[in-house]
């Protein structure tokens, strides 16, 4: 326990650090005098940039990173497969199809979000309906159904890109790669992050038991059917909301669960909050890099997380026999 609290407070410090960096870094240098003005609540240009541009973006990044990391942990536990990531069951594929349709139709802003979220919900329900169909609801069946729906969505995405006029292509690609520059409202992901943690932490010990297998968990006192339904819907909704606000940012949901597991072990009571903090902090840090590395140009943060995530994951894989 003391070691655990130490680890969690370390991750908490990392989160504060990344948020601090996100607020202070950027094309406009902010002096110490300006910071005191901002903290006193004075309305200056610097205050506008920090509070209206950098803060919402940092909070969105934190919430989306945390949602993706937690849903990655949940998908891995649900499918009892360490290679599962949040996108494996096609929820993000559905969101992509919805979003690209919106972009193709020339819609933007809130309507784009509605389309993306609608696509994600459709995929989520389709996978659940097909996999749950006869009530067997096994891991293999869920995994195969999800992977097939994801593949179908992938094909539709290609089709939409092929049909799209040149002018819309850039917007589509940025959306697909995952990008925080368009997110203006951090509240939906932040609020759902709260809901997710409140709904999932009480059953964290039961989720750990799922790792031993469904029958074993059932005979140890877990209502496996109900638990798996809860985990599936919460994780899928978290993914839908994260992808709607930031696009399909890659690798956070796969790498962060494994990184966190190396720090804390697989006890979900610690792993879930730890993954939320680490996922949030990493995405905020990656997004800060994405908008400052080649400023004033911005890199899509999804490209950066994948570029950092792939070598980190391969390094961990070669260093230990575990992920």
């Amino acid at each position: 326990m003391p070691k655990t609290l130490f680890g969690l407070s370390g991750l908490f410090a990392l989160t504060i650090l990344s948020l601090g960096a996100a607020l202070s870094m950027g094309s406009l240098e902010i002096s110490l005098a300006e910071w005191t003005e901002i903290l006193r609540g004075e309305e200056t240009l610097a205050a506008d940039i920090v509070l209206k541009l950098r803060l919402p973006r940092a909070l969105s990044g934190f919430a989306c990173g945390a949602l993706l990391a937690v849903s990655g942990v949940l998908m891995q536990a649900l499918l009892r497969n360490p290679l599962a990531d949040p996108y494996i069951l096609g929820v993000s594929g559905g969101a992509s199809v919805g979003a690209l349709c919106a972009i193709l139709l020339g819609l933007g802003g809130l309507l784009l979000d509605v389309f993306a979220f609608g696509g994600a919900l459709a995929a989520l329900l389709l996978v659940f309906g097909l996999a749950h169909g006869d009530g067997s609801w096994t891991q293999t069946r869920l995994l195969l159904t999800g992977v097939m729906v994801a593949a179908g969505c992938g094909a539709l995405v290609m089709l939409l890109i092929t049909l799209a006029p040149e002018a819309r292509l850039r917007g589509m690609l940025f959306w697909l790669m995952g990008d925080l520059s368009q997110t203006s409202n951090p509240w939906p992901p932040l609020l759902f992050l709260g809901v997710l943690l409140i709904a999932i932490l009480p059953v964290a010990r039961e989720i750990t038991l799922l790792g031993q297998g469904m029958e074993s968990a059932q005979t140890l006192g877990v209502d496996v059917r109900r638990l798996r339904r809860r985990v599936y819907f919460l994780a899928a909704l978290a993914i839908a909301i994260a992808v709607t606000s930031a696009g399909a940012i890659g690798f956070v949901g796969l790498v962060v669960p494994h990184l966190t597991r190396l720090l804390t072990g697989n006890d979900q009571r610690i792993l879930l909050p730890a993954a939320a903090l680490l996922g949030g902090a990493l995405l905020v840090a990656a997004d800060t890099l994405a908008r400052t590395l080649i400023a004033p140009e911005q890199l899509p943060v999804g490209v950066l997380t994948a570029l950092l995530g792939v070598p980190a994951f391969l390094f961990l894989l070669s260093r230990r026999d575990s992920p």
């Binding site: 360490p82 790792g211 297998g213 059932q218 877990v222 006890d267």
Partner: protein, 260 residues
């Protein structure tokens, strides 16, 4: 030993099981009281594991009723049922890293409240169980580094930590050496002596006879016989059960059955 006034720990009435259209058992009745031990014998595919899974509440029977301490599984709920019935399955696979001690502690799950963490007493209990199966030196090992036999003994330790009065064990001796086979059966028998009830699936009729008072023979065609172990575990019946003549050999008060 048996308290016949309380409802039996486990009762099955008119149980019929079928898998993929194949009849496994028909109208089976059984009752288990504290201190009872029943062994299930039969050929591969005769339905032993399926029956045990049904008795554990993991699959619904085609017809009939299963009562755990007088109530159906649905009435108990998963957590309360887990305080009454422990189950040792055949398959082990661990996709994620976990310590041996952590895994043994999962047996405490049904006894802990939602926000409760394992106490020092729970940890002591888990350590005792690990010592009973000879794994005390491996408490900090990753379960995925254990050998098949060590992993099996860890599963037995977890069952002991769960401390349920009814223990359903499917091939508890899988992967175990002779010394560990006897140690495992002795551990389970000791629990039975202290008031638990046991149903095991075994493949050795000699060990079955030595550690159980009752036997259930499943012939694989829906026909089955249940009764006292010393009446059923005889060469004539076992030869028919396994479809191969068996000889009974006795030495130093122990019996063994060998293929003729």
């Amino acid at each position: 030993m048996s308290d016949k006034t309380a409802p039996p720990l486990l009762a099955a009435r008119q149980l019929t099981l079928r898998i993929g259209g194949h009849l496994l058992c028909r109208d089976l009745d059984m009752q288990l009281f504290p201190g009872d031990s029943l062994v299930i014998l039969g050929r591969n595919g005769a339905g032993k594991s399926t029956l045990l899974a049904a008795l554990a509440g993991l699959r619904a029977p085609e017809s009939g009723e299963i009562l755990l301490a007088g109530k159906r599984y649905a009435e108990h709920g998963a957590r309360a049922a887990a305080r009454q019935r422990g189950w040792l399955g055949q398959r082990r696979d661990d996709p994620f890293a976990a310590h041996v001690l952590e895994t043994a502690l999962t047996g405490r799950h049904p006894h802990l409240g939602r926000w409760q963490w394992e106490s020092a007493a729970d940890i002591a209990r888990a350590r005792t169980a690990l010592a009973e199966v000879g794994l005390e030196a491996m408490a900090a090992r990753d379960v995925r580094t254990l050998s098949g036999g060590e992993r099996q003994r860890l599963a037995i330790a977890t069952l002991l930590v769960q401390d349920a009065p009814l223990m359903l064990v499917d091939e508890p001796l899988a992967h175990l050496d002779m010394n560990h086979q006897i140690a495992a059966l002795t551990l389970l028998a000791e629990r039975v002596r202290r008031g638990a009830a046991l149903i095991s699936i075994l493949h050795d009729p000699g060990l079955a006879a030595r550690y159980h008072t009752q036997a259930l023979l499943m012939y694989g065609d829906g026909e089955s016989e249940i009764g006292a172990a010393d009446e059923l575990l005889i060469p004539e019946k076992l030869s028919r059960l396994y479809g191969h003549p068996l000889l009974k050999i006795a030495a130093d008060g122990r019996t063994a059955f060998v293929p003729a």
